[in-house]
Symmetry: C2
Subunit: 587 residues, 2 copies
């Protein structure tokens, strides 16, 4: 890969701005399709290199890792949806949906790094809508979901045409950390529910075995990833551990559950499968959406709007994190075009009765990570203790990213392969307990690396052991407490609402954090404090190119993206980059 051919990124990205526009052209929403046009114009020249650049080992490692990281949670959510939507969504629907998304976004997407699939939140949506519909008329569920998707698709297209993705540039870590913590907590709750389910549908024996497997699965993956980020053994060996922790852990514990004797006899439950390539329910792949009464068609409209809101935040944030500044990306982004594509997949998912795919928040940055070439450098810091006592720190640096669309495409092919009978049988060997473990590891990853928890730990630490140049020391303790309390309040509200029938309203809460950050937070914190506490989620300058330039927060004269993220940059300077673990958001 020669660097010169990508020099165009900054150039072309500067063409999509509104700074010099006057009259009605100043209003972003009125410049219909302008964002989409520029997205395609910027990215199309790189299409051939997206295929040619893929000829490296990293593509293979990435394909295998992403296959596991994508399919495991998707299957896990499907188990949940299957039980709670009257067995409407089964494993075949989930695989079809994941495969469809992978094909569309790897071939047509402007940013093929963003992995699209089935999230926990769409599963929450689907079964909450089922609960609501079942109060009136359970039989119309499939048609109702179809119309919800059709409305959602229409809203997607409106957003894409009107360049509304531009407002994603105002997303900061204030809301995306809250969202990450919320997603992490939901994952952990799902893990517990999965285990509780084993007690009720199988037996206490199966339940306790499942708890044991889930805990040990969690510990195995956690331990392997921890070892992968240590300084033990050779770098190539650590790289293998980081790449294949999921593969090793999953194969081992699936095998463990099948050992004859006490283990096999417990009757723990496995992934339920049905006839390959057919819907789980006795129906065709096309939903007869024209058979729904008109009153229900319009009742589906607000649900469609809420799904669009969810995807607007969820998909775009996952795309942002997949292109975070920590990754040395050279090829341009394309938010408007990708959101238009997401409208198309939502529509297709609707009329075929499969779960609607969207950007996977915890997994998207893992894809970029798996394609990143890391180098661990030695950083020697002389100390006052003389020769020999120098500190020798490993500083991990990302030197390049293999930006291409082949790993995403191959992963999609692998998912299509999984839809065939032989591999479906392999999937059937997986105990539900392993999925509980997946929930825990992904959920905890999202919580552990979360800025909210990091700031809490900072507050708990004994002051005298904190290095004096730590940026958080420049902010008063009370201000930090106020800041994380605001975040925690948002998280708590979302978690609480998710446990009720009003669960589908949570995107409003999440989206509401953005204007809260823009208008309310600056009244309580001054610019210096926010420089330390907050950080732009859309911090990659080339990403901002696709969003029509950097954000302009009220009260600040100049827009300097370099201002933000003092805390993150400080941490990178000391410890180097943290390798992306599944579930960890942003850093």
């Amino acid at each position: 890969m020669s660097g010169s051919q990508y020099l165009g990124r900054e150039e072309s990205s500067s063409s999509y701005t509104y700074g010099k526009r006057t009259g009605w052209r100043r209003f972003r929403a009125l410049n219909i399709c302008r964002g989409m046009y520029h997205d395609v114009r910027r990215r199309l020249p790189y299409y051939w290199s997206d295929i040619r650049d893929a000829l490296t080992y990293r593509t293979i490692a990435s394909t295998i890792r992403m296959y596991f990281v994508n399919i495991l949670p998707a299957t896990a959510y499907t188990l949940d949806m299957y039980r709670r939507t009257g067995a409407f969504y089964g494993i075949n629907e989930a695989l079809f949906s994941s495969a469809l998304a992978a094909m569309v976004f790897s071939i047509l997407g402007a940013q093929p790094l963003t992995i699209v699939g089935i999230t926990g939140l769409i599963s929450l949506f689907n079964y909450t809508i089922y609960d609501i519909v079942a109060m009136y008329e359970p039989a119309i569920y499939s048609n109702f979901m179809c119309w919800t998707a059709i409305w959602a698709a229409i809203f997607h297209w409106i957003v894409a045409f009107c360049n509304l993705c531009d407002y994603m540039r105002y997303v900061t870590d204030f809301s995306s950390e809250s969202f990450g913590a919320y997603v992490g907590i939901i994952y952990c709750i799902k893990g517990v529910e999965e285990l509780v389910n084993e007690f009720t549908v199988s037996s206490p024996t199966a339940g306790f075995l499942s708890c044991m497997i889930a805990i040990l699965y969690f510990l195995s993956i956690y331990g392997l990833e921890w070892l992968g980020s240590s300084t033990v053994c050779r770098p190539w060996f650590r790289g293998l551990l980081a790449d294949y922790a999921y593969v090793i852990g999953t194969i081992f514990w699936v095998g463990f559950a099948h050992i004859p004797g006490n283990l096999k006899e417990t009757g723990i439950s496995f992934v339920p499968i049905s006839r390959a390539f057919y819907p789980t329910q006795p129906r065709g792949w096309l939903i007869h959406f024209w058979e729904l009464e008109v009153k229900w068609v319009f009742a589906a409209l607000p649900f469609g709007f809420l799904i669009m809101l969810l995807f607007y935040y969820d998909h775009n944030v996952s795309s942002l994190t997949a292109q975070a500044r920590q990754f040395p990306l050279k090829k341009p982004a394309g938010f408007h075009w990708d959101f238009f594509l997401l409208g198309c997949t939502t529509f297709l998912a609707g009329i075929t009765g499969i779960p609607m795919p969207n950007g996977l928040v915890p997994q998207a940055p893992v894809h970029t990570d798996s394609l990143t070439i890391y180098e661990t450098d030695l950083h020697v810091i002389p100390t006052s203790e003389g020769e020999g006592a120098e500190l020798r720190r490993p500083i991990v640096k990302a030197t390049a990213v293999v930006e291409q669309r082949v790993s995403h495409f191959l992963m999609g092919l692998a998912i299509i392969g999984t839809m065939t009978r032989p591999l479906l049988v392999v999937l059937h060997t997986m105990p539900a307990a392993v999925f509980a473990g997946v929930f825990f590891i992904v959920g905890w990853g999202s919580i552990e690396s979360n800025g909210i928890l990091q700031k809490m730990v900072f507050l708990l630490r004994e002051n005298r052991f904190i290095q004096r140049d730590e940026p958080l020391l420049r902010v008063g303790r009370r201000k930090i407490i106020l800041y994380i309390t605001c975040q925690a309040f948002g998280v708590a509200a979302c978690v609480a609402i998710s446990e009720t029938i009003a669960a589908i309203g949570f995107p409003i809460l999440i989206i509401a954090l953005i204007p809260f950050r823009v208008w309310i937070i600056p009244k309580w914190f001054n610019q210096e404090e926010l420089d330390v506490l907050d950080d732009l989620t859309a911090d990659n300058s080339a990403v901002l190119g696709s969003l029509g330039g950097p954000p302009r927060f009220p009260g600040t004269e100049v827009t300097e993206t370099e201002h933000y993220g003092l805390e993150r940059r400080y941490s990178e300077q000391i410890r180097g980059m943290a390798r992306q673990r599944v579930g960890s958001i942003h850093r």
Copy 2:
């Protein structure tokens, strides 16, 4: 505590030497009772201060911590012995034995810091002898054990009279690390056996629940102790965690096993109890040892000798580690007198048919630790990165030890209290699974902190990240590998023999490591290498006073104890003292 009154330690300890003796008096074994006489003469003046000094909070914290740390493994081993000796040794015998040992050693012991109780190795001995006796005549087991103990007691007294404990000064980390690793592995194996037993005697449900409880118990204690040694929260809070990790963890998980519903209904097994103060078997407390045939009396002699060998190593090493150099002890040691007392308790244990108590290797240093007043100092190391980037390291320092005999005595009283019916019923609420967890946490503690594992990790680490002043770098990699291979070979041989009927022979293997270190190892390693790799276990100069002066290894002209332990001192200099976790040997 004023320091001046203890100045006598070094003075009085110098009175017991053999350097200036001539003629037959040069031979240590011929100076009958000389060691015991000096032990008592040195320690007696401190008796009143041993009571007076106890009036501090640390005594209470120590009593509670040691009660749990002593009684939990003792009960765990008793469960094992109970099953494997035809229900001869039950919980009443175990409590009686622990109480007897605590009373004798707290009131009469020259070094009341050494906690004496029931170890895993005596349980191994007891059931192996049962297996052997059962081949001929199971009915004579009680009398046979009694005679074994009588012979063992006689050998103890001979060792004490002839000052043979002096040879403990040749014990180095070479053998005591091997012993620690061996004990750790045996503990872990016992934990697994305890869980397997749940599957066979109860049900798979109980088995899986037990596995879950054991794993989570392990993780809780480990997590609490890890938190206690971090820099989070205030020092007093961390101190509480370190003191009461076992109390918190045990109470929580015992309660957990009693939650009504699925948990309570699994029928996991609890500690079996019988009528308070009565032997488990229908017999009196006095064994009718005079009813044993003479041939069996003499058959018991070699077994008694092996028990003495075991206790010689086990008890004295636990006493050494309880008085390691890291603890700033001011009062003198007394190995000969304590070994004489151990002979007495062995005799009493024999004729009452209770398990023979001896020094608890993993727990003894924990007692001293629980009585140590630690201070966490801030160590600021300026680096080349300028102001604010100084490293701020916590360096833990032991400032004083509350040396007294009251905590040991109160712990003994608490054990006697546990022998009454009401507290016996409380003991009965404890599930066997918790004990499996105890085995894991104590066993893993012994393995994790072990020098063998530490050297392995050193070998695995990437060379460029190792600080240049690390002493191990001065030794060739092959030499390190050879050294730990010798140790690992000793450990493997002991573990292997423990699983056979020849298990009672393992003390010979352990003891054989001492002459191996003295005569063979110096042929393969030069003095500089041994200075780094090895360390005297009896490294406290005042301890060496009770052992008749520092050791004189063949081939070395001068005996400078300061030579040894470069590696340990390097680690202390950088990280400060590691607080003693249960199970961790030496450091």
